[in-house]
């Protein structure tokens, strides 16, 4: 094991609809300033910076971070689809843990367009070609956003296997809206009933519109530091990363004609298993989770992948409200991607921000009582999955 990695500062901006936000460089630098202020360190203390975003030309990271100062430090631009933010976090964590730096900045941001995600480059091999081939084989292409077809198809497969009701998926969205109603940073703060969610237009059975995360603009940032740095700066009892694991696709993603596996179930399960092992903890030790609910179907699958409930038990877990305040664990207290929004590059760091606040007891109305261990799950098709376990002693 290397050096312990502490998250000494976090910050984010309120997430907005496309068109309503500041430009990426403004959002990102504002989030970074907030994180630096939260940590109580100056930009001149930052030795390296990691900037995550998906849409935008090269070196957007520099353009955003230059607004904080021009100190000539290394800046890395990171792109890993929806798991971009936590991939940047993963690299930054490695730098500290390996003793290569004492204090680094991670920032994630996204300035998105309206409408569903789609390919930008049609003159070359689509990176999701294998996923698309599998989907075409298993369920064909429909006139619906491809991501909704993929995760919705995984939902179909799960439903067929376990006889799950459509309302069960809607119930996840209802919980997300309820949580988001207490989060001033979230995009959608209006609560919705299961009936309203069910009555929304169907995007791809079983998903209705309110079960798909919206295109969002936003930014979030974190400052990571070593124990030495923490001691030198007299920082008290910071949140630290107890374990972090990242996986990419296994053969099972493509060889079993399973939509569930294709959308990253095995990546998530393996990343979680590795993280639990490294932290010496299990799902029962976790009080609060931010997980990748890009679609309700994926939140349901992720409960099982993370071991929050047993295989096939997600439906009961949801209706028993084991996933919210008063239950075994609170998932997505921030409102998650569904309600807080999903600016691709920012999501991983917004999850981190929420969990640091939760562990510090600073989450105000959405505080999870007695939160000591927090788990973050961030997934991207293409693919990558990062699971991070945070603790505060």
């Amino acid at each position: 094991m290397g050096n312990r990695v502490n998250v000494i500062g976090v910050g984010m901006v309120k997430f907005q609809k496309p068109g309503a936000s500041d430009e990426y460089n403004v959002m990102a630098s504002n989030a970074a300033r907030a994180a630096l202020a939260d940590a109580g360190v100056a930009y001149s203390d930052i030795e390296q910076a990691y900037a995550g975003y998906v849409y935008g030309d090269s070196t957007c990271g520099q353009r955003a971070i230059y607004e904080l100062g021009l100190t000539g430090i290394p800046v890395f631009n990171v792109n890993n689809n929806c798991s971009t933010g936590s991939t940047a976090l993963f690299l930054a964590r490695q730098a500290i843990e390996g003793g290569l730096a004492q204090c680094v900045l991670v920032v994630g941001f996204e300035q998105m367009e309206k409408g569903a995600l789609g390919a930008k480059y049609n003159d070359r091999t689509n990176p999701l070609e294998w996923q698309a081939d599998l989907m075409n084989r298993v369920q064909g292409f429909a006139q619906a956003p491809p991501a909704a077809q993929m995760f919705g198809g995984a939902g179909r497969e799960y439903r067929w296997k376990h006889g799950t009701k459509r309302e069960t998926f809607a119930k996840i969205s209802q919980k997300a809206r309820k949580h988001a109603s207490k989060n001033p940073y979230a995009l959608f703060t209006e609560q919705l009933s299961v009936e309203e969610i069910m009555a929304a237009p169907e995007v791809f059975d079983p998903l209705t519109r309110y079960q798909c995360c919206p295109p969002t603009c936003g930014a979030a940032a974190a400052v990571l530091a070593s124990d030495d740095f923490v001691k030198r700066h007299g920082l008290k009892s910071p949140v630290y990363i107890a374990a972090q694991a990242m996986t990419t696709d296994f053969r099972t993603s493509f060889e079993e004609d399973s939509m569930i596996k294709m959308v990253g179930y095995d990546m998530a399960e393996a990343a979680a298993r590795q993280a639990y092992e490294r932290a010496g903890l299990g799902p029962k030790d976790v009080q609060v989770v931010e997980l990748h609910d890009c679609f309700t179907a994926n939140e349901l699958l992720t409960y099982e992948a993370l071991g929050l409930c047993g295989p096939g038990e997600a439906e009961r877990f949801i209706w028993d409200e084991g996933n919210t305040y008063g239950g075994a664990v609170v998932t997505n207290p921030s409102g998650g991607l569904l309600s807080k929004g999903h600016p691709l590059g920012a999501t991983g760091l917004a999850q981190c921000t929420e969990l640091v606040w939760q562990l510090r007891g600073q989450a105000e109305q959405r505080q999870v009582e007695g939160a000591r261990v927090a788990l973050q799950h961030n997934l991207g098709l293409g693919g990558a999955c990062v699971v991070t376990i945070y603790r505060r002693d």
Binding site: G118, N122, N136, F141, A142, Q143, R159, E255
Partner: protein
């Protein structure tokens, strides 16, 4: 007590009723309304003396209690007199309880003739006489109940009672036969073996036991067996002291020697444990059941022979328990190295077999298909579990021949399950051969490969059995080979090859090889096999994915280090014959060998079949040049206008689409980068769509969905499939734009319209179109040419055709086809002329016609299954008959169809009809499903509901009240389900089956599978 068991109106004879059991029976029956003849000779227990006192006392006691009884003092040997007493006193007899008996216990050594015969007389002859005298009365009145009294001594034996035991068990056989003879006349005969304390047993049992064995505990069973509501007959009951039970025979499964095999004393001795083993047993209740093993042995036919090494009867056809194995790229690469692949590491083609990260893709070398199956056999052989009846050591076994077939290219890894069957056993004289057939299925249960391993068992032949096929196959043609591949086998090759699973030390250990007479370890036959396969696939056919099968005979051993010369003859595009020689010794080592290739490589993962798509018939071409009916040109014109008016659309989609239309053929490019629509093709196209003109029109009119066309195989997309998603703007096209374009075109008028589809068929050709008469003519000729067919089918069919009407008799007994209804038909088929023609042309399926109500079959329904020969009639014969008819000037019937008949439409109703039939045939099906299911069908719409419960199994039209689940799907998809072309899970995943309510019930839709 719900109802008292009574015997009012019945007359019972109880023999030996003065004391003990008999007295107890008499008192009980009398107390419940029976009129009783109390018979007792009044003698002692050894048969001495005579007195009326005992019987009289019992009669007195019955009468005192208000019952009716008369006494009789005759010996049972005078049975007729006893019965006569009943007739005289009461006028009938319903019940006979043969109870009288005596004892003459003496050890066998001291037993006298008198001891023996008096026992037989009283027990056996007495029971016979009384029963025989009562029998006619019972038969005539159609009712009777008879009890024999046997004893545990008869069943188990008892010291000092040889005479008594013999008589008692004799009664059991006596009763069993009477039960059979009396059954139809309502006469039931049962036997009891009571353990009761009575005068006869006082001398041998302790008092406590005798006290427990009261006669009163025996009589209730006797009374019940004698009641009219008791169905028992032929039974044997053991009882006493409060215990009641029934006895039956148990027989060990035993051993059966097939007829024709010598059964030696030694063979019986050796299998004695099996003869006496009750681990598996039977309980034959009647003589036919007892005979069953013998009948089965006769039916199994004569023994197929064998000897001490091979018992053909036991081994042939034996199928092993499934065994599992798995392989990965590692195994594939190791195997490929083992058969000498990539000795030149820069040989790109061979590198693909050993390098899993190869940039052109890793290609499993196909002859690896031999390894999992053969390893499964080796594993079983090592465990001695190949098959029962194979009793030779592995040292006798040589690999004689090998056949390996792949059903599709090998995946890079698989988990397999193998079953091994002993397919053939041949007696080659001195040696024997055994053919093991190994079928291997993948994780999904799909067969992946098939192997036949022919093992030569040295010195194990000679039982005079089947010698098997003798002809030579895959003999090289008499010409120089088309290719010769010479390759030296590396001296350490066997050491490398053995890592693929054949660990026989013969291939590695010099000392071991020497013990078997080889100068050094020999190469595995299958390694040579792999070298040869590589040589053939490398030279005759570049694509190893095309490999379908390989068959070889191993003629001679090969030593590592020798040079293998593979001679190749390419006999056809899909068949290559080859032979392999060792250059140094000029010996043929592999002979009679061939590799077969796939014409088309079967797909790795069989995609769900699209719902049955009828052959697309393009919409009629515009009839007149003036028509303003829009065509595809108009649509593209409108698209151009639409894009010009909405430039942001092009910016958003930003793709170059190529449309290739057929029937009529045309090509258009929609360039959303340049925002430009033009006829012709473009090199820059990113996404190409191929579709018929008619379907394209339907798609743009919003009548057909691109997705459905795609899955119906009507729309082919190449290039960037994802980009095709962006085509939905087509359905947003304003129809007015299209119409305007069409008007503009029609108005221009000058453009020559394509000529309406030529009325191609000339009149004379049209009349040479076959009609049903031609088919029957052809059928006659076909049957004449194939006389064995008539012999095989041997049925007289009558075809009654309608529209135009006609009748034909196809007599496959006389081998004659004639018009009219000549011979008495066994099977009559009624259908339309058009459907008949369609059926014979193989376009329509008799079964579908039948379930669609379009074919009516009367008479022998099964015989209609033999009609498949109709489809074997060569079309040329039918055409020839049609031509002959036209040439001969015979007028074609006016109503003869001018075109192919319309295909019979099968719809939801036909599926439901077939379902009802299935439910009627399978009464348990309802209970297995156990749900009320609503079936809502679209396009065309219909609604059905199925009530499938253990009590009811019905299907009705319309909506169900409170169904547990509602299934919504298109009729085409319902048909696909019913045809077994799609599974419910697939349709659900495709979004073609919508399920509301309890989704788990949809897992039980198996009742729809293969309905039609």
């Amino acid at each position: 007590m719900a109802s008292e068991v009574r015997y009012d109106g019945k007359v019972a004879i109880i023999t030996g009723a003065g004391n003990g059991l008999g007295r107890s029976h008499a008192l009980l029956l009398a107390s419940r309304g029976a009129r009783v003849v109390v018979n007792d000779l009044g003698g002692d227990t050894r048969g001495g003396g005579k007195s009326s006192a005992a019987a009289d006392a019992v009669v007195e006691q019955i009468r005192a209690a208000g019952g009716q009884a008369v006494a009789n003092y005759d010996s049972v040997e005078d049975g007729a007199k006893i019965v006569q007493t009943a007739i005289d006193a009461f006028g009938r007899v319903d019940i006979v309880v043969n109870n009288a008996g005596i004892l003459r216990d003496v050890t066998f050594a001291k037993m006298t003739d008198d001891d023996w015969s008096i026992i037989q007389r009283v027990h056996m002859l007495g029971a016979f006489r009384v029963t025989h005298a009562a029998w006619p009365y019972m038969r005539d009145q159609g009712y009777g109940r008879i009890i024999m009294t046997a004893s545990a001594a008869g069943i188990y034996g008892n010291f000092g009672q040889a005479n008594y035991a013999a008589a008692k068990l004799g009664l059991v056989g006596f009763a069993s036969t009477l039960a059979l003879e009396g059954k139809k006349r309502g006469v039931h005969v049962n036997t009891i073996a009571p353990i009761a304390g009575s005068r006869m047993t006082e001398s041998v049992m302790p008092k406590e036991l005798i006290d427990a064995l009261k006669p009163e505990l025996v009589s209730p069973l006797v009374a019940w067996l004698c009641h009219e509501s008791c169905d028992e007959t032929g039974g044997l009951f053991e009882l006493g002291g409060g215990f009641y039970s029934k006895l039956r025979w148990e027989r060990s499964e035993g051993v059966t020697f097939r007829l024709g095999r010598d059964v030696s004393v030694e063979a019986l001795r050796d299998r004695w444990r099996q003869v006496v083993d009750f681990g598996r047993s039977q309980h034959p209740a009647e003589i036919t059941a007892a005979l069953q093993p013998v009948v089965a042995n006769v039916q199994a036919g004569p023994s197929r022979g064998g000897n001490e090494f091979i018992d053909v009867d036991l081994a042939l056809g034996h199928q092993s328990a499934p065994v599992s194995s798995a392989y990965t790229e590692h195994d594939l690469a190791l195997y490929a190295l083992g058969i000498g692949a990539a000795q030149d590491p820069l040989n790109n083609r061979e590198l693909r077999h050993v390098y899993e990260l190869h940039r052109d893709g890793f290609v499993p070398f196909p002859s690896y298909a031999v390894i999992p199956g053969v390893n499964a056999v080796l594993d079983h052989a090592k465990d001695g579990q190949l098959a029962p009846g194979l009793n030779f050591g592995l040292d006798r076994l040589l690999h004689g021949e090998q056949y390996t077939e792949l059903y599709r290219p090998l995946p890079r890894s698989a988990r397999l399950t193998h079953t091994i069957k002993v397919k053939d056993i041949f007696d080659k004289g001195k040696h024997a051969t055994i053919v093991f057939a190994i079928t291997s299925v993948d994780e999904r249960g799909e067969p992946l490969m098939y192997n036949e391993l022919t093992a030569l068992i040295r010195g194990a032949g000679g039982w005079g059995g089947d010698r098997g096929p003798t002809g030579e196959s895959n003999v090289p043609p008499d010409r120089a080979p088309d290719a010769v591949v010479t390759e030296q086998i590396h001296p350490n090759q066997a050491l490398l090859y053995r890592l693929s699973g054949d660990w026989n030390p013969l291939h590695a250990d010099p000392g071991f090889a020497a013990a078997f007479g080889f100068p050094r370890p020999i190469l595995h036959g299958l390694c040579t096999f792999g070298y040869a396969a590589r040589a053939v696939l490398g030279h005759a056919e570049g694509d190893p994915q095309k490999f379908k099968s390989i068959k070889v005979r191993f003629a001679e051993s090969v030593f590592p280090g020798e040079t293998l010369v593979t001679e190749i003859w390419k006999e056809s595009p899909t068949r290559v014959v080859f032979r392999a020689r060792v250059k140094e010794r000029d010996k043929v080592v592999i002979s009679n060998a061939a590799i077969e290739l796939f014409d088309q490589i079967p797909s790795a993962a069989p995609a769900p079949k699209p719902a049955a798509a009828a052959a697309s018939t393009p919409a009629a071409a515009p009839v007149t040049a003036q028509s303003a009916e829009p065509n595809s040109t108009d649509v593209f014109t409108a698209i151009g206008q639409h894009l010009a008016a909405n430039p942001e659309l092009a910016k958003k989609v930003n793709t170059v689409f190529q449309f290739k239309l057929t029937g009529p053929d045309s090509a258009y490019t929609i360039d959303l980068k340049q925002n430009n629509v033009s006829p012709g093709t473009a090199a820059s196209a990113e996404c190409t769509l191929e579709i018929t003109d008619a379907d394209f029109m339907a798609m743009c009119a919003g009548k057909a969905n691109a997705q459905e066309l795609y899955f119906g195989g009507k729309l082919k997309i190449t290039g960037n499939v994802m980009a095709s998603q962006k085509l939905n703007f087509l359905s947003k096209l304003d129809p007015k734009l299209v119409l305007a374009a069409a008007k503009a075109r029609a108005g221009a008028g000058s453009a020559a319209q394509p000529a309406p589809a030529a009325d191609a068929a000339s009149v004379s050709e049209a009349s040479a179109e076959p009609i049903s008469a031609d088919i029957f003519t052809a059928m006659g000729a076909y049957l004449e040419a194939n006389p064995e067919l008539a012999k095989k089918v041997n049925v007289v069919y009558l075809f009654k055709l309608s529209g135009p009407d006609g009748a034909w008799t196809v007599d496959l007994k006389q081998n004659k086809v004639s018009p009219g209804t000549d011979a008495p038909a066994e099977c009559t088929l009624e259908l339309s002329d058009a459907d008949f023609i369609g059926m014979c042309a193989g376009k329509l399926n008799p079964q579908e016609l039948y379930f669609g109500g379009k074919l009516k079959i009367s008479g022998n329904l099964m015989a209609s299954q033999k009609l498949t020969f109709l489809q074997k009639i060569e079309p040329a014969r039918v055409l020839a008959a049609a031509k002959a008819r036209v040439a001969g000037g015979a007028a074609a019937p006016a109503a003869a169809p001018a075109a192919a008949p319309p295909a019979a439409r099968i719809g939801a109703a036909e599926v439901i009809t077939a379902l009802r039939r299935r439910l009627a045939d399978n009464p348990n099906l309802g209970g297995e499903v156990g749900a009320i299911i609503q079936l809502t069908v679209r396009a065309p719409d219909s609604a059905w509901h199925a009530v499938l419960t253990a009590e009811r199994a019905e299907v009705h039209e319309g909506q169900a009240d409170g169904p547990q689940v509602t299934l919504l799907l298109a009729e085409d998809d319902l048909l696909a389900l019913a045809r077994g072309e799609a599974s419910p899970a697939q349709l659900f995943q495709f979004g073609k089956l919508r399920v509301d309510g309890d989704l788990k019930i949809a897992h039980r839709l198996g009742f729809l599978h293969k309905l039609i």
